[in-house]
């Protein structure tokens, strides 16, 4: 797995304890009792909203959950891998994690440019790449260093898809990740800011086998630092270094 060097392989890991990506509050991670009764808190939906997901009604659920770990603690100690200051908004259709509209990376004097991207996802976009089955409508996007990027992510399939970018600075993006996810067909918009270094960032859908079967792409900042492997239409499989 050269494309995401931070991903390590471990034989046996915690079973479920850190299973939510970055959205469990710290106290819950420590106690494992994520589902405590909390009187007074609103129910997510009421029972009358049975099958609301088919109706796609807007229930205006827009809660932000903040963790409590700061810079430097990510990935170690009791913060776990899951909860370093993550923020997210989620409703019944979509989820946006680690959105950043205002925090300018410390190496950027200012935001260089505001960029709007539209990304479409679905089986239809695999048609141009033989042997794949899911896809994005583009497998590469080029942006300038220190730009602020607003992505409108459109899912045309009837299943979940994600647009997840890795390798961003961890002091701004817990786990170095910015993530958008749609529960089915629909669209969602979110914003993040890239730092000044020229780099190719991995973009993918992390649902099992979606990346391998077509949903792999790269965000190139400036001139970038070289293509990632196995991007449909751009690069072939990774060749390990000779021993």
């Amino acid at each position: 797995m050269n494309d995401s060097p931070e991903r390590k392989f471990s034989a046996i890991g915690p079973r479920g304890l850190f299973s939510s990506i970055g959205v469990i509050a710290l106290s819950q991670l420590v106690s494992g009792h994520a589902l405590a009764n909390e009187p007074g808190e609103e129910q997510l939906f009421r029972a009358e909203a049975y099958d609301a997901s088919e109706q796609r009604t807007d229930l205006a659920i827009d809660k932000t959950m903040e963790g409590s770990c700061g810079e430097g603690k990510c990935g170690e100690g009791k913060c776990g891998e899951g909860s370093c200051g993550s923020n997210m908004r989620m409703d019944e259709l979509a989820m946006v994690m680690n959105e950043n509209k205002d925090n300018i990376p410390k190496d950027c004097p200012q935001i260089s440019e505001d960029i709007k991207l539209t990304v479409k996802a679905g089986r239809e976009y695999s048609l141009g790449h033989n042997g794949t089955i899911f896809g994005f409508d583009a497998n590469e996007w080029r942006v300038s260093p220190c730009s602020r990027i607003t992505v409108t992510f459109i899912n045309e399939d009837q299943v979940r898809h994600q647009w997840m970018i890795h390798g961003l600075p961890k002091y701004l993006y817990p786990q170095g990740m910015y993530h958008m996810e749609l529960n089915g067909e629909g669209q969602v918009t979110g914003t993040f800011i890239v730092p000044s270094n020229e780099k190719n960032y991995l973009v993918h859908c992390d649902i099992a086998q979606h990346m391998e079967k077509g949903m792999k792409a790269q965000l190139v900042v400036g001139k970038g630092d070289g293509n990632l492997p196995s991007i449909p239409g751009i690069s072939g499989a990774y060749i390990p270094p000779a021993e």
Partner: protein, 521 residues
């Protein structure tokens, strides 16, 4: 043995032989003595702990979460109580904080109105996805989204899973599948008379369906669409990226099954099969809709609690790794389809791993031991999803067969025996009594239960392996869920090298290596 020198004459040979046997031959010759090679020390390799320390011990305690009573589960790897609460309440009836304690999507399990006014929801909407475990990658020979069935063993699998959100792995630094994504496909539980909708959201790269096996369901839905999940007779397959809803209102309670009916010989064996349990209707009876990985039911239904102290779901399946590893043979979906559907020969299948609830021994001891105590009744729901007959033997107990294929047997037909035959796709409900009367139980202890067809207790032809698990009385169980065994050490079985057939099987009991590995072999 003395070696006899040959002569050209047969009769002389006979005479010489006879003489040799009588000990009268002083002409015998022999090779010079040569000391056989010494035994070499075979490295055991990395040995895993019986129970990973990362599990929160409070998960094992009896507790009430979001108003849901959850039974104690003294296993090494108990199910996460937060998940169980969500499976009983429904994802729509949780607070955001409660939902965040699970990895379920907001619409994974929507529980609606109480139609008969008896205090529990009767409108149940279940959303399933299809997940690939230990799949391929163009950039790595290591399996992706891993699920280990035994130390170091990762054949490719497919499973139905409740709709989740976020990453497929347990965190960004890990390649291990998150706890919702595992084998076997989860047990689905509903109440008799519930209006159930099951939506299959096909997140996988091949077409699939859901066929309800033994579950009361109409052949067509109210809108005329096929509802039986058989592509050749009922309706089209659910193609990748598509969604389809099945509708049912089961009138008959019992232990049933569900499975994919596309290229069934391959898709079912890849793991797309699970138990489907319809619980008898009772007042105030919200049931635990999913039992992830089958196993211990921590929130049994009212009807089960009337007659039983504990309940376990047991799903058996066998695995021919030649079939399962096709998904890693290429990244091109066309080549995978060709290899699986047109080249692989089921008639030449040789199953080499035998799984109980998705794992083989010794991992079965972490999560599929039947914990009990004296004078209890334990309900076991068994599905044989494998290709051959299961001859399930319970040491120390003679359970009683109460149901076949979800139909209760007349009392006189309820046989009590210690080898229970379960054919492919059959379900058997057992009542395991732990009353120490010399018939139903011989008393407290650690008693194996396993397939007695012998092949079923092997892993890659190594023993002990396969679907061996144990019935353990609480007095024989450590606080960490480890059976207090008093035989040979179990630790060698927790090393990948053992099941790679590299280690002499008695190493741990034979420090001098007298039964070990001769040098140069």
């Amino acid at each position: 043995m003395i070696k006899i020198k040959y002569t050209s004459s047969l009769s002389v040979v006979v005479v010489t032989l006879l003489a040799g046997l009588l000990g009268a031959c002083d002409k015998a010759t022999y090779e010079p003595y040569k000391e056989p090679p010494p035994s070499i020390k075979v490295e055991q390799g990395e040995v895993q702990a019986f129970c990973p320390e990362t599990i929160d011990p409070t998960w094992r305690e009896a507790q009430t979460i979001a108003g849901v009573e959850i039974q104690e589960s003294r296993l090494c790897l108990p199910d996460n109580p937060s998940d169980i609460a969500a499976f009983v309440r429904g994802t729509n009836n949780l607070t955001m904080t409660q939902l965040m304690g699970t990895q379920l999507s907001t619409d994974a399990l929507v529980k609606g109105r109480d139609l008969d006014g008896d205090g529990d929801p009767d409108e149940i909407h279940i959303r399933l996805e299809v997940v690939e475990l230990n799949g391929g990658s163009p950039d790595s020979s290591d399996p992706m989204t891993t699920f280990e069935i035994a130390p170091g063993v990762k054949p490719g699998f497919w499973a139905f899973a409740p709709k989740t959100r976020g990453m497929a792995t347990e965190n960004f630094e890990s390649n291990v599948a998150n706890s919702m994504l595992r084998l076997p496909s989860p047990t689905i539980r509903v109440e008799q008379g519930d209006k159930v909708t099951i939506t299959l959201e096909n997140s996988h790269y091949f077409p699939h369906t859901i066929h309800l096996h033994g579950v009361d369901h109409p052949y067509v839905k109210e809108n005329g669409e096929g509802n039986d999940g058989v592509p050749q007779t009922s309706g089209p397959m659910i193609m990748p990226g598509q969604r389809f809803s099945y509708e049912l209102q089961p009138r008959h309670a019992g232990t049933m099954a569900y499975h994919c009916h596309v290229q069934t010989g391959a898709h079912l064996l890849m793991g797309l099969i699970g138990l489907f349990v319809i619980e008898e209707n009772r007042p105030n009876n919200p049931v635990q809709t999913f039992n992830i990985g089958a196993g211990h039911v921590r929130h049994p239904s009212v009807a089960v609690r009337e007659s039983y102290d504990r309940e376990y779901d047991l799903l058996y399946i066998d695995t021919d790794t030649e079939l399962h590893n096709i998904i890693r043979s290429s990244n091109d979906v066309r080549k995978i389809a060709k290899s699986m559907n047109r080249e692989y020969k089921l008639s030449e299948s040789t199953p080499d791993y035998f799984l109980l609830n998705g794992r083989s021994f010794p991992y079965t001891l972490r999560e599929s031991i039947i914990v009990t105590a004296p004078d209890e009744n334990v309900k076991l729901r068994i599905l044989n999803a494998g290709t051959s007959m299961l001859a399930l033997h319970t040491h120390g107990h003679k359970p009683t067969i109460t149901h076949y294929d979800g139909v209760e047997l007349a009392e006189a037909a309820q046989v009590t025996r210690d080898v229970i035959m379960v054919g492919s796709a059959q379900r058997v409900d057992l009542k395991l009594s732990t009353h120490n009367d010399g018939l139903h139980s011989y008393g407290e202890g650690i008693w194996l239960y396993h397939d007695h067809t012998e092949l079923g207790i092997t892993s890659n032809n190594m023993m002990p392996g396969g679907n061996i698990a144990t019935i353990v009385y609480e007095s024989y169980l450590s606080p960490e869920g480890m059976p207090k065994t008093q035989g040979v050490s179990l630790m060698p079985y927790f090393s990948p090298e053992y099941y790679q057939r590299k280690v002499p099987v008695w190493s741990a009991s034979d420090p001098d290596g007298q039964l070990g590995e001769p040098q140069g072999e």
